[in-house]
Symmetry: C2
């Protein structure tokens, strides 16, 4: 029985090629569940249950949870297990403030080094993004947005800053999904992405950075507004 369970689990978990260990595969699976909202903040992740579900032992589960804690997606309390984290309003404000502080600065460093290949890739991302919005498939929105913003800043030559921004974007992801499905700012964000691209391609680096700042500021304010309202409604 244990054997069959393992075989099934190994196939179902490691089936997605590209993972060199089971724990990495589990981490990725859980990450997607959390980012997609399938696992809501506050949810308790029990090691036994996850192990049985994936058909593996608890060891790789534990290591996956540690990786997720590193990403800030779960919080682990000793002897009490892992809980899916959520961001408070203050933390969301902080995250967007950080993005406002960092992203425009990085764009100025990066914009001039964007190649034609980069631009075509970014335009493709924006198109995919637009299409996803029309169809209403919000699931992949965060991923596309993240890749777009990171793509813009790719050549800033500041690896640590980029890693931090990547983390910030990931943390924006879940709350922003809420914003997009509620507010009408979707089209605006799309247009702003396009304009930023155009400005970069035209060499208007400072203008692009300014618009990026406004873009992030607006997203932050709008999101905080929604959070405040939904909190007041409860």
């Amino acid at each position: 029985m244990a054997v069959t369970a393992r075989a099934r689990g190994a196939r179902s978990v490691a089936g997605g090629i590209g993972h060199r260990t089971v724990s990495a595969a589990v981490a990725e699976a859980l990450r997607q569940r959390i980012l997609s909202g399938a696992l809501a903040p506050g949810f308790q992740l029990r090691q036994d249950a996850l192990a049985e579900e994936f058909g593996i032992s608890r060891i790789p589960i534990r290591e996956a949870l540690l990786q997720l804690e590193a990403s800030g997606l779960v919080k682990i309390a000793p002897h009490r297990g892992a809980v899916v984290t959520g961001l408070s309003v203050e933390e969301i404000e902080d995250v967007f403030q950080l993005r406002v502080s960092l992203e425009p600065q990085l764009l100025i460093l990066s914009a001039r080094h964007l190649t034609p290949d980069d631009f075509s890739e970014l335009r493709a991302l924006r198109d995919e993004y637009s299409a996803a919005l029309k169809v209403g498939t919000v699931e992949i929105w965060g991923e596309l947005n993240r890749r777009f913003h990171l793509g813009l800043l790719r050549h800033a030559g500041r690896p640590r800053s980029l890693a931090i921004v990547a983390g910030l974007l990931q943390d924006c992801d879940r709350p922003t999904r809420l914003q997009l499905s509620v507010s009408g700012d979707v089209a605006r964000a799309d247009m702003e992405h396009t304009t930023i691209l155009d400005l970069c391609e035209a060499g208007e680096v400072v203008a692009a950075a300014n618009l990026l700042r406004i873009h992030v500021e607006h997203a932050g304010h709008s999101l905080v507004e929604i959070y405040r309202k939904s909190a007041a409604a409860e």
Copy 2:
């Protein structure tokens, strides 16, 4: 034999009270070794060796290594083990640029909320810092510097920013140790700390933030200079 080994290890590792699990204790022990320079960048951490040394099994070692990877102190390659990381010159520049971008801004938010208790604590830290420099005990310098800077920014009300700055300060730690033992900027840093404190206490928030920016900028430039020289000497 296994029992005696475990008893010895359990005492030697968990002896430092305040750790709820063995893996956390190991993580802390390894962190100190890395930050103190006892484990140089590039050093391979073998799980078996560490397990035997601490007198425990490999499982908590693995989990400790994962925690360290989250802090950026080691890099884990699947099936190839963990290696102590070092910062390239570009990364060091990036880290200091980030500190320049973030710390003054946070100080402006935090300075007005510093209480008399905070000031006395910060002064105590500065005194301890000065004393450590005179005696030449460089080991604890990084820790004191980190606590001083974080103490200044404590009341900024931006938890995520503070966590990031804490990480940046930790990553500065090892390289800065080098700077302090080489250059003569020790006294300057000490004086700047004092002046920043005075300005904050006098309510000269903007001036304090400016000095903090200069303080960090200078430390960064000086450190990069030293790195460039030592790299050229090789």
